[in-house]
């Protein structure tokens, strides 16, 4: 059983944030959009940039740079919103650029090394080494923790 899973292939979406490449399993990704008009939602945590209209559905947007405590950057032509879904919960992640869709073998995923960089460990579920690239697999559950938005609303 375990053998089988390890042999399995996984499609991942690779995106850029500052100087590192991150990855998300494709089954969590609904769409990749160029930057749209974002309506600010007052009194929420800073990393929630607001909401957008994605084909009639209102979707909250998280700026991953702020979420990961990296320095903010002005959105450019390359900036993308990755629409992700987790247990019926939709959200958009703002990233510097979306680079690639690639297949990886499950057994190439390694547990996160102790030193990954500036991103808090809790957001990372593992790393993948691909030739000379190092892809950081995101832990979507942690990134999209609705508790954190609620808490901040109460405090506000």
């Amino acid at each position: 059983m375990i053998e089988q899973i390890e042999q399995e292939e996984m499609k991942i979406i690779v995106f850029q944030l500052k100087d590192k490449e991150y990855a998300l399993p494709v089954n969590h990704v609904k769409a990749i959009e160029k930057i749209l008009h974002i309506t600010r939602v007052p009194r929420t945590v800073p990393f929630i940039k607001g909401v957008i209209n994605l084909r009639g559905v209102i979707i909250p947007i998280i700026d991953l740079r702020i979420r990961f405590a990296l320095d903010e950057q002005v959105y450019t032509e390359q900036t993308r919103i990755i629409i992700v879904t987790l247990d019926g919960m939709d959200a958009g992640l703002i990233v510097d650029s979306a680079n690639d869709v690639i297949d990886i073998f499950m057994d190439t995923i390694e547990p996160q090394p102790d030193v990954v960089g500036s991103v808090a460990d809790e957001f990372i579920s593992g790393v993948v080494k691909l030739d000379k690239r190092l892809l950081i697999l995101l832990n979507l559950e942690k990134v999209l923790n609705p508790e954190e938005t609620l808490l901040s609303v109460k405090e506000g």
């Binding site: 309506t39 600010r40 939602v41 007052p42 009194r43 607001g50 209209n53 009639g56 209102i58 909250p60």
Partner: protein, 678 residues
Amino acid sequence: MDMNQYLEVFIDESKEHLQMCSEHLLELEKEPQNLSIVNEIFRSAHTLKGMSATMGYEDLANLTHKMENVLDAIRNQKTVLTPDIFDVIFQAVDHLEAMVMSIADGGDGKRNVQEVVAKLQRIENGESPLSSSNDDLSLPAGNPVKKQEQDSIYDEFELTVLQQSSDQGFESYEITIELRDDCLLKGARVFMVFEILEKSGEVIKTTPPVDQLEEERFDQSFKVTVVTKESAENLQKKIMKVSEIDKVIITKLDLSELRLAVTKQEEVETQSKTLISNQSSEKIVEEKKTKNGKPAGNKTIRVNIERLDTLLNLFEELVIDRGRLEQISKELDNQELHESVERMSRVTGDLQNIILNMRMVPVDTVFNRFPKMIRQLARDLNKKVNLEIVGADTELDRTVIDEIGDPLVHLLRNAMDHGIETPENRLQNGKPEEGTIFLKAYHSGNHVFIEIKDDGAGIKRNRVVTKAIGNGILTAQQADTLSDKQVYELIFASGFSTADKISDVSGRGVGLDVVKNTIESLGGSVTIDSLEGEGSTFLIQLPLTLSIISVMLVEIQNEKFAVPLTSIIETAIIKKADILHAHNQQVIDFRGKVLPLLFLKDIMEVPTVKDEDDFYSVVIVRKGDKLAGLVVDSFIGQQEIVLKSLGEYLTSAFAISGATILGDGKVALIIDCNALIM
């Protein structure tokens, strides 16, 4: 095999079948002799059994199986329906419902049902379901002859006659007369038997009816019920003198037993006398339902509400594009483009109506659980109540339907508990023993009204006033100036609900503030009318749909917000110089009232880009009786918008009740005035 993919269908259909069971049981209770209803129930139960066995829910299947056995016995007339048996079957259905709910909530559908299974088993064995004390209710097992003979049912009139005759010392007999196989002149024999009977007593009832007897439309035997002072033996001898008669069986009638068997039927009869007008409309609904329920004539399909939402979302995109196209066509001024865009606008307009209508559900889906609830409450409280439902086919948006159930349950319970008096009290006050609760739904304009009316005790003004003064909600002076209606409104005050003793003082007010809040959160309102001693009426007004609301769009700096019209009293422009200060709070004098000013710019933390001018645009909003002025930069105008939630991730943001998409495709937030006013 993986059953999960069928789970949703299974749950939906089980609920449907159980609902059918409940409805039919209530019907059967009204006409216990109608075996076709038993058949319907049996069919639902049978399907349910099959489904749950396939899905592997053994407990569910077992209980259904037991229930089915009892139903089978009833339909084959092996068991006579008594109120006790009804109770047990209802209990079984309740358990089944609980099991299905548990499965729907992700549980395993297991439940301790031994008690009810044992009861069902006893009924199946022909014993009384309660085993002891109530022996007189069920027929002793092992006396099939008697059972068979008891199955003729007497109506209220016949029973009264029987009762009166027995009071005067007459005996009632049920006589079964069997003619010989070779009897040629059956009609003549019947005539002769009748002549004998009429000399010695009075014929109350015949089975089959007299006209059929006269036309010889019966087999070899017929049944006659007589009241007489003669003994059974004498009667038998006299009848046996008529030639060509094979057998005469005479049974003495036990009136108390008959009474019990028909109590339920009686109720129906009284009901039908008082409510003839409503029955027709009810019937129409019922007919409709049976039509829908039959798979053969089924012209509807089940659609997941999420798919409808998706459809609506896609459609809105289309509407936004339509707006852009209209704009472009105006600018280009091309006749052909004009025409096709115009045609497209018309078609999309129609489409919009259709899509919105798809979300409409008849209010019956909420109402249908009430008859059973009222029946149970009536038994628990020892009250006689007739629930009358009108307009169950009135349609409401699905989202409203989902929310309205609890407030209605609350109001109905209130009416049962505190409105309707005990049968003894009612008789004393010169009212019919049986109270009536009237549940009515109807459309009017852009709203749906739901009325809950009872002919109970009504609300006692004095008691409400006393309590209100006691609670400090009101002063004695204020109380005198209030109209009756204003006094009744007080029972919605939250202070009333928190006081435990209120239920035995005014009889109403326990948790009614919750009802009011729920209804108001749906954009509706509730009013009370009452006449002491004659009953109360609660009138609920609801918007047809929650997904479209009227708002006032306002602008603050470069951002647009929507304020629901239901919260807005009016708009005003005020001079900065007119602002007063009180307790660090800026206020204005609005028609003699002091209103606090809320600066939306600060509350919403809008970044400043433009300079302010000397005038403020103010939206006067309310929450209940409290008013406040929302300061904005400018009004854009009134608009109908489609309400959307902020999504699962952002379930709640401060003072924001949702969002909408404007004509330019951008999102505007809807301000929740209730959160702004304390």
